[in-house]
């Protein structure tokens, strides 16, 4: 809710500033009702609406960081909610609830989650700057732009390889 409110607050220059707030409310309802589909759809729509609301922003370093920051705030909230629902589901499935067991699981899974987010933010920041400056320029020399383009293309291929690898893993029966 905080991420949606913050996104809407910062986007008040736009006539559609309230869209992220509405969609984040939907995801909040999904979280409270333990409906994973509603939560996921709400977050997806709120991220897209946030990007849409800020589509006219000027290309500046600060704005790039601002977009990435709020984006990952949404993602962090989403992953925390998913983790909470997963732990709750496991607690309900246990015949004899044992809080101690879940505290350690929760702690290590949240550590894992934040490590992943930090890595994602780092890759996103580097990738965004390379991508933006290689494709849209920004006052750099032509040689540097070419190098950045090559690096960016390599990164894209690398990411495509990772995604293909991930998505092609055999589904268990």
């Amino acid at each position: 809710m905080m991420s949606g409110g913050l996104a809407s607050l910062i986007s008040m220059h736009s006539p559609y500033w309230f869209f992220p707030l509405i969609f984040i409310s939907i995801s909040l309802i999904g979280f409270n009702l333990k409906k994973s589909f509603v939560l996921d759809t709400g977050i997806l729509l709120s991220v897209i609406s946030y990007l849409f609301v800020n589509r006219g922003l000027q290309l500046k370093t600060l704005n790039i960081l601002y977009i990435i920051g709020i984006f990952f705030l949404f993602v962090a909230a989403w992953f925390c909610a998913k983790n909470t629902l997963m732990v709750q589901e496991m607690i309900n499935a246990f015949e004899v609830p044992d809080g101690e067991r879940f505290v350690s699981f929760r702690r290590s899974s949240l550590t894992d989650l934040f490590n992943n987010l930090i890595l994602s933010v780092s890759i996103a920041v580097i990738g965004s700057f390379i991508g933006i400056f290689s494709s849209l320029g920004g006052g750099l020399s032509a040689d540097l732009e070419i190098i950045l383009m090559v690096v960016f293309s390599s990164l894209v291929f690398f990411i495509m390889y990772v995604i293909t690898n991930l998505l092609s893993k055999r589904r268990a029966e």
Binding site: D40, L51, G56, I67, S109, D112, A172
Partner: protein, 427 residues
């Protein structure tokens, strides 16, 4: 390995940002797409190891395959990780619905380093007889976010036989009135092989020297021999009523389970007195065990009681032909029935008129119903109780020995009281 739906949403986000970016020609959507792709790269860190080598074994206490009802059985799950480190491993030993967990847990989430071994312990008990299958053990790898789930091989099921609980009954002697010619513990009131002195007679050639009564010999100046009261045994047939409409209670606690426990106790008691004991069970199917003696016979009876299920349409009236045609005459027939079906009492009364001793042990269904059902009407209960008392009295008058038994109390005191009363009546 299963991928979660997060991937579907991330893919949708990537595609929508790319499409919208091209549509609105905005760099903001490009940043969104790059950030989403970065998430994919980060997710690859959460991939389960390619080679997961996990050894899972279940060890039951003493390699037990048989336990008694409500006895605790300790289960141990031994886990060894022979592969890479596993951060989030979920272990679940599936238990059937009726099995109760008394200590510990059969469901764990743990992490295992390479080469690490762990033991998980828990205790279970089962409130009903029968065969139960513990397991299989399911192992599942999960990452912290829920990107991936991988099912791993666990241990197979373990079958355990839950036997009825046997009550020791040392203070009661349940013996048939009619004895047969083989040795036993029943005083036959005739001369034979035994330990109780009966009378003396003149010595005949061939009599054992140890039986000579030296006092009488000295008095009468002629050899006299002791005679003893013959100890014989008879036939006892246990009949357990599992007729579907007659069973009262819930699956964990009902008149049939009480009847099975009573039958096991009676079988143990009457077999230890060297009687021949047989069994007839009527419920889902009609089954019987022909009378015999010994420990093997006890195990045969227990095995039949263990697998016996209530239900079906085999009522007690169908047992008459079985008794008359296949079982020895002049036996003590012990009916174990809640007497909720009135027509069965006619079978019992009919048998009383023939050369059978009839005993009826009836677990009180009202007591069970009162315990398992919260809403019970006092008026209906009183009416049923009156009908039941009338039926029990009718059976008494027709010659049956009737035991109105509270299934929550031990059977021995109820039997003892009734048998004492019967002895007083005979005098």
């Amino acid at each position: 390995m299963k991928r979660s739906r997060i991937f579907l949403y991330l893919t949708a986000l990537t595609l929508s940002t790319l499409i919208l970016g091209n549509l609105f020609r905005s760099w903001v959507f490009l940043i969104g797409a790059i950030s989403t792709l970065a998430l994919f790269v980060a997710a690859s860190r959460s991939l389960p190891p390619d080679e997961i080598e996990l050894k899972i074994e279940r060890e039951a206490d003493q390699r037990v395959k048989e336990v008694y009802v409500k006895d605790e059985l300790e289960m141990t799950i031994h886990i060894e990780n022979r592969g890479e480190k596993l951060r989030f491993l979920e272990i679940h030993d599936i238990l059937p619905p009726l099995v109760e967990l008394t200590e510990g847990s059969n469901h764990h989430v743990l992490s295992l380093d390479m080469g690490e071994e762990k033991e998980l312990n828990y205790k279970i008990s089962c409130p009903v007889t029968g065969k139960i299958d513990i397991g299989p053990i399911r192992a599942r790898y999960k990452d912290g976010i829920g990107f991936f789930t991988k099912e791993l091989e666990g241990a197979e099921k373990k079958r355990i036989q839950v036997l009825p609980r046997t009550e020791e009954m040392k203070r009661v002697d349940i013996n048939p009135s009619y004895t047969k010619h083989w040795l036993g513990d029943i005083k036959s009131k005739s001369i034979g092989v035994g330990s109780e002195f009966f009378s003396i007679r003149e010595y005949h050639q061939g009599d054992e020297i140890k039986n000579i009564n030296w006092k009488a010999t000295a008095r009468y100046q002629a050899p006299f021999t002791n005679e003893y009261e013959g100890e014989k045994s008879g036939d006892v047939i246990l009949v357990v009523d599992g007729y579907e409409e007659g069973v009262v209670g819930i699956r964990r606690q009902n008149t049939l389970q009480a009847s099975i426990d009573a039958a096991a106790s009676l079988a143990s008691s009457t077999l230890s007195a060297r009687n021949r004991v047989g069994l007839i069970v009527s419920g889902e199917y009609l089954n019987w065990v022909y009378p015999a003696t010994g420990k093997n016979q006890y195990h045969r009876i227990l095995a039949n009681l263990t697998k016996f299920k209530g239900g079906g349409t085999w009522g007690l009236e169908g047992i008459k032909w079985l008794l008359e045609d296949f079982f020895p005459a002049r036996s003590l027939i012990i009916f174990i029935s809640p007497l909720t079906v009135p027509k069965f009492s006619e079978t019992m009364i009919d048998l009383c008129t023939k050369e059978y001793d009839v005993m009826v042990i009836s677990p009180d269904p009202v007591k069970i119903e009162r315990d398992v059902i919260e809403d019970h009407e006092e008026a209906i209960e009183a009416l049923y109780r009156t009908e039941r008392e009338h039926l029990l009295e009718l059976l008494w008058r027709r010659g049956a020995v009737v035991v109105d038994w509270d299934p929550y109390e031990p059977l021995e005191p109820a039997l003892e009281e009734v048998l004492r009363y019967q002895q007083r009546l005979k005098r």
